[in-house]
């Protein structure tokens, strides 16, 4: 079945069914055939045994068959004597028992010489013709007591006698008479020792009649216990040794031996010939097997027909059986293919309660689970993607933030380094004065005016140092507060401006400060202390950098912002210095500013605070004409 391995189950089932049915058909055919064959053969065998029994009954007298054969042999041997034409043994009913010419055995010898010898019981001789040839024949009666049971006839050739002259003829005739007499007598003695000569003839005649008259028996052979053929339908075989397998087997003790000769269409049955318990010979009967073969051929044809019908039925049946098995599997296969192609909604519609039904149920469960898992997976993957996107965005954002922070930090660090460098320079300068002059005062002998001058220096620089420290502290505080955010509450810029102006006016600077504050200014979001510091720094600068002239302060609303301007008529700022005016520690250094103390931190602090409240600070100035600093803060919103 190896060739079926790659076939479908349907093909396999059909093939299996088909092969099974063919096998059963052939088996039944074979059984029928063999049975028929056996019964036919048994029939013939039975016939043979019946025939055998008939033959045994025929051979009723208990006499050795061998002797009869010996007689024939004897006759044939005598026939070989020089000058003998033929020898005949004839029974008392004129039938030839044995003869030189075998074909004559069984014939009736109706010769006058034989009749005369039988009726008279004495020796008769004379010239005669045998089979168209002139012979000298002599008939010698075979007697047992007075009973004549047969005639022995001997014929001599006359060729030499006829060629001879008269004298020789007399001599030859005398010799023939003598010879015939001697031969007849000696033979008669031999025959006398044998039993009934007639029996032999009867068997041969029986054989002849049986083969001739029977339609079914084509061959009969009777063999003595020395394998010599006693009687046969083929006369020329009588007296020969039957060297035959079957005969040998029976002589060796077998009860029956049968053989078929298909070419000759003969069925041979060999059986022992027993008289009483004595084994006498073998009867070999050949049946005409034509009928048998014809019958077998018919059975064969019939069997083939039946088998063919069986095969045909098998094919039909196979399909009938295979389809209900295959169809659910095919449906299942189709659904599986669809499932594999991605259609998870597909279900198998198999309702049978067999294994396929169970499989379909399990399959449907699997498909259901698969669909659910896939849905979950899809959902999960979608969520995951979304999460990944979100995380990536967040990471990018935080990366940007981090970069921004890093930049800020780097800038801050650089700014801090620069600031420290500048601050240290700014601190060292007054300290140099303080340290140097105080040491001179302590170690040198100085004039009073010198002492006074030096102490003045020390005092000035101390004040300067003190202011620098204050400003540094301011800027430090502001910068540290920036991180927490300045406090924001609604404040009125006008009020803060007025308060500071009053402070400066009261400080006896001797300067006029003009004030102009707009009506109903809205509040801004800021801390009044911080804004106060901005205004103070601006006023401080205005007073410091203008020896005389008016200082004008204004507060007004413009473009959503409340503005404060402080304007002086002082030394002004050169164009190249204006961009640097908000740098820490930057101070305008001109001849006019030499004696003006300052740290260069007032404007940076002011700018810092204003921008912290999302405001703007601007400077307008012209050299020697004065400076105007303005800052604006957004109107406060709840």
């Amino acid at each position: 079945m190896l060739f079926l391995r790659d076939m479908g189950i349907r093909t396999k089932i059909i093939a299996s069914m088909f092969l099974l049915l063919v096998f059963v058909g052939l088996l039944s055919f074979w059984v029928t055939y063999m049975h028929e064959k056996k019964s036919l053969l048994t029939n013939m065998q039975n016939n043979a045994s019946i025939l055998n029994r008939a033959l045994i009954i025929s051979v009723t007298s208990r006499k050795s068959i061998a002797e009869k054969v010996n007689l024939q042999t004897l006759v044939e041997e005598l026939s070989l004597t020089e000058g003998v034409f033929g020898v005949w043994v004839i029974d008392n009913s004129s039938r030839v028992t044995s003869a030189t010419f075998r074909e004559q055995v069984g014939e009736v010898a109706s010769r006058p010489m034989v009749s005369e010898c039988l009726s008279n019981g004495y020796y008769v001789s004379g010239f005669d013709t045998r089979m168209g040839e002139q012979v000298y024949a002599a008939a010698f009666p075979l007697k047992k007591g007075d009973h004549i049971y047969g005639v022995l006839e001997v014929a001599f050739e006359l060729r030499e006698y006829l060629r001879a002259n008269d004298a020789d003829r007399v001599r030859l005739l005398a010799q023939m008479r003598r010879d015939s007499r001697i031969m007849s007598e000696s033979l008669s003695y031999s025959i006398k020792n044998m039993r009934d000569v007639n029996e032999l003839v009867h068997i041969q005649r029986l054989v002849d009649r049986l083969t001739r008259e029977s339609e079914i028996i084509s061959r009969i052979m009777i063999v003595d216990d020395n394998s010599r053929i006693v009687a046969a339908n083929e006369l020329n075989r009588v007296g020969m040794i039957a060297d035959d397998k079957g005969i040998r087997a029976i002589i060796n003790g077998a009860e029956v031996y049968t053989r078929l000769f298909p070419t000759e269409k003969i069925y041979m049955v060999d059986m022992p010939l027993r008289i009483g318990d004595e084994f006498q010979g073998v009867v070999s009967i050949g049946y005409d097997a034509n009928h048998y073969y014809t019958h077998l051929a018919e059975i064969f044809k019939f069997g083939l027909l039946i088998s063919a019908m069986g095969i045909l039925m098998g094919i039909v049946l196979s399909f009938q059986v295979a389809n209900p098995i295959i169809r659910p599997i095919q449906r299942l296969t189709d659904v599986t293919k669809k499932l594999a192609a991605g259609d998870l909604s597909e279900r198998a519609s198999v309702n049978s309660k067999d294994e396929v039904g169970t499989l379909a149920g399990a399959f449907n469960q699997m498909a259901f689970d698969l669909a659910r898992s896939k849905a979950e997976l899809d959902q999960y993957s979608k969520t995951l993607e979304e999460k990944v996107r979100q995380r990536t965005r967040e990471l990018e954002n935080s990366n940007q933030e981090l970069r921004a922070i890093q930049n800020e930090l780097m800038e801050a660090n650089m700014a801090k380094s620069e600031f420290l460098s500048i601050a240290s320079h700014e601190l060292r300068t007054p300290l140099t004065t303080l340290l140097g002059y105080s040491e001179l005062l302590l170690t040198r002998t100085l004039t009073e005016s010198q002492k006074k001058e030096f102490l003045g220096f020390i005092n000035e620089e101390s004040v300067r140092l003190s202011r620098i420290v204050d400003d540094l502290l301011d800027i430090s505080r502001i910068e540290s507060q920036k991180d927490y955010g300045f406090e924001k509450k609604p404040v009125q810029l006008g009020d803060i401006l007025l308060k500071n102006i009053r402070f400066f006016a009261g400080a006896e600077t001797g300067r006029r400060i003009l004030t102009e504050i707009g009506d109903h200014l809205p509040p801004v979001g800021a801390d009044d202390e911080k804004i106060g510091q901005v205004i103070k720094n601006l006023l401080d600068n205005a007073i410091k950098y203008s020896e005389k002239g008016e200082i004008a302060c204004r507060a007004f609303l413009n473009d959503g912002m409340v503005w404060v301007t402080v304007q002086d008529e002082g030394i002004g700022i050169s164009k190249q210095d204006i961009p640097r005016i908000f740098d820490k520690f930057f101070r305008v250094e001109r001849e006019e500013t030499k004696h003006i103390g300052g740290t260069g931190l007032g404007l940076p602090i002011a700018k810092y605070i204003v921008e912290s409240y999302h405001g703007r600070i601007e400077v307008e100035s012209e050299l020697l004409q004065g400076t105007k600093v303005s800052f604006g803060l957004p109107v406060f919103k709840e």
């Binding site: 320079h425 300290l431 001179l440 030499k594």
Partner: protein
């Protein structure tokens, strides 16, 4: 050791510091020259041929102390002048930069007048 009459140029934008240095060194046989910015310092150095220059670094104006030092040390006429950086820039990097430009010594503000005197005294002739 008492030193010979020396000509010393003081360069600093702070008048008080110049005066401090002048008073500090005036006890010896010295001639003091003043300059309050870089340009003035270069002019006085070439013109007055001082022996020693006390040079501030951070000064207002386009020419700072480093520029002055470099210019003088590159000029054959003035490269022999002994230059002492006298500055508030006290960090190591500032000092190395000054010395790399050819400054002979470096003195950080605030300073002790006595120490400055000692330093001037100990300048090898």
């Amino acid at each position: 050791m008492r030193w010979m009459m020396k000509k010393i140029l003081i360069v600093d934008d702070e008048e008080k510091v110049r005066k401090l240095v002048e008073v500090t060194l005036s006890v010896g046989d010295v001639e003091i020259l003043h300059a309050s910015n870089g340009e003035e310092a270069l002019a006085k150095a070439r013109e007055g041929k001082p022996d020693i220059i006390l040079l501030d670094i951070m000064m207002s104006g386009p020419v700072d102390g480093y520029d002055v030092c470099r210019s003088l040390k590159q000029d054959a006429r003035t490269k022999g002048i002994y230059i002492i950086m006298l500055t508030a820039k006290g960090q190591q990097a500032d000092r190395e930069r000054g010395l790399a430009l050819g400054a002979d010594d470096y003195f950080v503000k605030p300073f002790s007048p006595m120490e400055l005197m000692d330093k001037i005294d100990n300048i090898p002739t």
